[in-house]
Amino acid sequence: MRSSLSYHSRQRLTAWLMIAPLAVGVLIIVGWPFLDTIWMSFTSAQLTQYTGDWVGLDNYIRAFRSPQVRGALATTIFFVALTVSLELVLGVLVALLLDQPLYGRRFFRALLILPWALPTVVNAMSWRLIYNPDFGGLNAVLTQIGLLDSYQSWLGSPATAIYAIAVADIWKTVPLVAMITLAALQGVPREQLEAAHIDGASPWSRFKTVTMPAIVGPLMVAAVLRTIEGVKVFDIVWVMTRGGPANSTKTMSIQVYQEAFSNFRAGSGASQGLLIVLVSLILINVYVALLRRQGAQ
């Protein structure tokens, strides 16, 4: 049997066999659950009674009409736009700063790893303690320097809660973007920067024409990944506010969790969960289009 196969086709067979465990594994723990979720989204499945009746597009129509889902969609998109844009801008600025000849530059750069390595749940919990209305560090600082008259409940007020969570997310991610940018900055042709400087180009035009092209690729990857993570965000919001107060921080993932696990409507939850995937897909396509346009210029 073995000898009837040529060396080449045996190699090809091995190549596929080596992929098989991964393919089968991903099929079982991701592929099948995903297909099952798609199927469920067209049924009236309950968490307690797993096989529901076929209801066609009912779940989707109800999802689009639901003020809860619309609110959660708006909150999610707002959160993603706010955090990803600030993380990119601040991350690049921090990287450019730490790329300068500074005393202790190695130390400053080494610090960047800390927020990235800190577990998200610990990060969320520690910001809860910073925002605490009774003894929080933020209140202590702001009242002691006179910016605030009395202690505020930053996470307890619908006006500030989403921004408070965004700050925690930005604190954790800006250093990551900075590390990626610093790595990419190694590829910037220094002679070109010097030449542009001698030619009298302004710092901004030097950044745009020489630095930016070297870092735009890695930044785009970071933007796509952060967007995907932002669209499906659950843990940081859950630990800080559980979606409250008054649903002001309820993201799509929390909405889906509540629909499936608090209201027991698994079918309806499935349809709303797929909306998250849809939002991710749309945003990724926007990035790809932007990148293409950038490349065409």
């Binding site: 190699q11 080596m18 991964l22 979720t37 560090g137 954790k172 400087h197 499906k232 998250i276 995937v277």
Partner: protein, 281 residues
């Protein structure tokens, strides 16, 4: 480009500001962990506590039955076991696959993109079938069940990171072994993997960090000491109406310690690994 003195002063001031912002939340957590509730709630707040109080650390490192320490230490054990287990399982699948993706030009590479794209799927959109699946196998509330499910988070990253690292390893020595008639598995085991050791170490640690960080699946799929992980334990402590903030902060510090140490020790490897292929949030 020589910088004027004023600019240099400003740049250093900004760098110090960045350092303070990075360190402040971590130092706050440390401060709360060694403070008594009385100290915390006395206003105006004193930034330097008169006396350091390590009671909370003692409380969380005891195995006394039904204590919070017991719950916490079990959670830490569970987290470590799930992190190592999921990493081991995921690597068994990812290493041969990543190498195959890297070395063959066939149609397999599309599969790589499918695996990476699964990262886009939110856990909330997979959890109900996964819950039913584990329930059917009797694996709900077990470390094994959580390990298997956590592989779905680890696999896209590890496969991608390994593939881009294998891409950077020279094919020539492998070719020589092939000419000698070695099988693909032999070449992978005795030629490629020894050369990829640093990359493998990075991927292992990266994967452990990912599982250490995981919350949602553990939150849904586990519910007691037998399998509950640290992130769930902390979320439970944080969301209750407990006023024991010192204990909470201490749990946070102890939970963050292993990842922070990994991060600091492997900064360089992690950063180049990140730059090469993937980014963790």
């Amino acid at each position: 480009m020589k910088q004027p003195l004023a600019l240099r002063v400003v740049l250093h001031a900004l760098a110090i500001l960045v350092a303070v912002i990075i360190l402040a939340p971590i130092l706050w957590l440390l401060l709360v962990s060694v403070s008594t509730t009385t100290h915390l709630t006395t206003l105006p707040f004193e930034w330097i506590p008169e006396k350091l109080n390590f009671d909370n650390y003692a409380k969380l490192t005891t195995l006394e039955p039904n204590s919070r320490g017991e719950m916490f230490l079990y959670a830490m054990r569970n987290t470590a076991l799930v992190a190592f287990g999921a990493t081991a399982i995921a690597l068994c699948a990812a290493v041969p696959a990543a190498w195959s993706f890297s070395r063959s030009k066939g149609g397999q590479s599309n599969l790589l993109y499918v695996v990476v794209a699964t990262y886009m799927l939110p856990p909330v959109a997979l959890i109900v079938p996964l819950f039913a699946f584990l329930n059917g196998l009797g694996l709900l509330n077990t470390k094994t069940g959580l390990m298997l499910v956590d592989c779905s988070i680890v696999l896209p990253f590890t496969t991608w990171l390994l593939k881009s690292n294998f891409d950077n390893i020279s094919h020539e020595i492998e070719e020589a072994a092939f000419v000698d008639g070695a099988s693909m598995l032999t070449v992978l085991r005795s030629v490629t993997l020894p050369m990829a050791k640093p990359a493998l170490a990075t991927v292992v640690l990266f994967s452990i960090l990912l599982v250490w960080d995981e919350f949602f699946y553990a939150f849904i799929l586990t519910n007691d000491d037998r399998s509950q992980t640290l992130t769930v334990a902390i979320a439970n402590l944080a969301s209750g109406r407990v006023s024991d903030y010192g204990l909470l902060a201490t749990a946070g510090i102890l939970t963050a310690l292993p990842p922070l140490i990994i991060g600091i020790l492997l900064q360089r490897a992690l950063v180049s690994g990140l730059a090469q292929g993937g980014v963790k949030g």
